[in-house]
């Protein structure tokens, strides 16, 4: 078999192998990290009370987008009613 082809084959076998190895390790590291965090920081405090101002601030800060129009509309609706 020619050199170029064998290089390509080697790259494929080896590259795919490494990608899987790396992401598999990442699965384990991530899982381990999540477990640790959940152990030491158990209660995900519910902050549902203030989503609107939060997301409004964020939408605006990001240079703006369609969401803002929605936000303004919502705000206007709210204050109008």
């Amino acid at each position: 078999m020619n050199n170029l082809l064998s290089e390509g084959l080697g790259l494929m076998v080896f590259g795919m192998g490494f990608v899987f190895l790396f992401l598999t390790l990442l699965v384990f590291v991530t899982g381990f990290m999540s477990k640790l965090v959940m152990k030491y920081e158990p209660a995900p405090k519910p902050k549902a009370a203030k989503p609107l101002p939060n997301s409004a601030g964020k939408a605006v800060a990001q240079g703006g987008n369609d969401e803002l129009v929605a936000v303004i509309t919502a705000a206007v609706h709210k204050y109008r009613s």
Partner: protein, 433 residues
């Protein structure tokens, strides 16, 4: 009257070559696709426009001072260039070729000679040097993408990383395809070219541009155009493959709702990823390092003004110049080549194989886990093409069952695919550069 003649002989109409004409039409076509068909317009508008600019006859916007000098050179100057490059021929083609294969110090000497003779780099050539040849533009865009990426869905279901891994098979299969075509004598790709073409299958623009700029700059134009075009075509390319590989009942699988992810997990994830990169694949450090940095700025909550700038002003500025710079590689002599056709064909094959492998991997994972935890439709999102591929998964899920919302579930493999292709890019850079 002399002046009229001179201007006429320097005009575009007088000088335009057939290749340039075709490339300007291709540039207009890209603009049409971007504006009317909404093909990744943020990139394809600047790329298409840059492509037109690059092909304006006699303007030399995409050429270096040396290339411009050789184009217009007097016999004496040509002899001086030949002397610098150590060749005896003073034929422009030979001199140009010698320039392209010469090393950086010869380049520097030739540039000074061109400057001394009054020739300068074209505007787009300067943009390319600063933005792409230095590597900075793709990295800064990757930082911005990191700052826009929410790893929540991935953290809630880390196993979807396997889907992102599997979909990268498209990359490596395409490498093999490219060397195979060369083997058969149909094309003439080096292993570097093959690797750069393969990365189209990563479905990730900045990664493709970064890798191509390192491994195969002369193919960069075609590779970038192929990558962004196929990313825009994902809603057409993927569904048939996904339908062919799944049964109706598989497509109807409902996935359990994702758990809540704490702020701390989101902060620690980019750091874990960075450490893993540092320990295992230093060659992927620039790409994944900037990506993780952008994501950390997003999640840490104390540098919002930096994160906002990375997501807005900075990424927009860099996108404009990146696009124009990519366009500079669409000059006729580089793009109008059989190789470009090969790249376009191999690119779509890469997308197809990646999509298929993602779906198949999902089915394998269901088999191995002995359950129906994963709807195989989300496997296709592993190719990246964020967020288009995830939306396609969601759409096919809804077709099968109008209550089956897969979007969030598909975001996991979708961002995993970004990591996967950056890792694959690191492997390529390590072994073939």
């Amino acid at each position: 009257m002399d002046k009229v003649l001179e201007l006429w002989q320097a005009s575009g109409i007088y000088n335009i070559s057939f290749g340039q004409f075709v490339m300007i039409v291709i540039g207009l076509l890209l603009l049409f696709l971007a504006i009317r068909k909404n093909f990744e317009p943020l990139l394809l508008v600047p790329i298409g426009f840059g492509g037109i600019l690059a092909n304006i006859p006699e303007a030399g916007l995409a050429f270096s001072a040396v290339e411009n000098a050789i184009h217009f050179a007097s016999p004496e100057l040509m002899a001086q260039f030949a002397n610098i490059f150590g060749i005896t021929s003073t034929d422009p083609h030979d001199v140009l070729h010698a320039y392209h294969v010469s090393n950086p110090s010869t380049h520097a000497a030739a540039s000074l000679l061109a400057n001394d003779s009054g020739y300068n780099n074209g505007m787009l050539y300067n943009f390319y040097s600063v933005a792409i040849a230095s590597g900075v533009a793709p990295l800064v865009i990757f930082m911005g993408v990191g700052a826009m990426t929410d790893f929540g869905p991935l953290l809630a279901n880390p196993k979807t990383l396997f889907l992102g891994a599997a979909a990268q098979f498209g990359i490596f299969a395409t490498v093999l395809g490219a060397v195979g075509l060369t083997q058969l004598g149909i094309m003439d790709f080096s292993i570097q070219d093959a690797a750069a073409i393969g990365i189209i299958g990563g479905a990730d623009g900045p990664t493709a541009i970064y890798v191509a700029s390192l491994l195969s700059p002369q193919l960069l134009g075609a590779i970038a155009v192929a990558a962004y075009s196929y990313m825009a075509l994902v809603p057409l390319i993927q569904p048939p493959i996904m339908r062919a590989l799944t049964t109706e009942s598989e497509r109807q699988i409902k996935m359990v709702q994702l758990r809540h992810i704490s702020k701390t997990e989101k902060i620690l994830f980019p750091i874990c990823l960075l450490v893993l990169v540092a320990l295992l694949l230093p060659d992927a450090a620039p790409l994944l390092g900037m990506f993780c940095f952008g994501n950390l700025m997003r999640e840490c909550g104390v540098v919002d003004r930096l994160s906002d700038t990375a997501q807005n002003a900075l990424i927009n500025i860099v996108t404009i110049f990146l696009g124009l710079s990519v366009g500079s590689k669409l000059s006729a002599d580089k793009f109008l080549d059989l190789q470009t056709l090969g790249i376009l064909v191999l690119g779509i094959v890469a997308f197809g194989i990646g999509t298929a492998c993602g779906v198949i991997m999902a089915k394998i994972m269901n088999k191995m886990a002995g359950g129906n935890a994963i709807n195989p439709l989300i496997g296709s999102a592993g190719v990246s093409a964020v967020p288009m591929a995830a939306r396609v998964s969601n759409k096919l899920g809804l077709e099968a069952n109008s209550q089956n919302f897969l979007l969030m579930h598909a975001m996991g493999p979708n961002v995993a695919g970004v990591i996967g292709s950056a890792v694959a890019a690191g492997v390529m850079i390590k072994f073939v550069s």
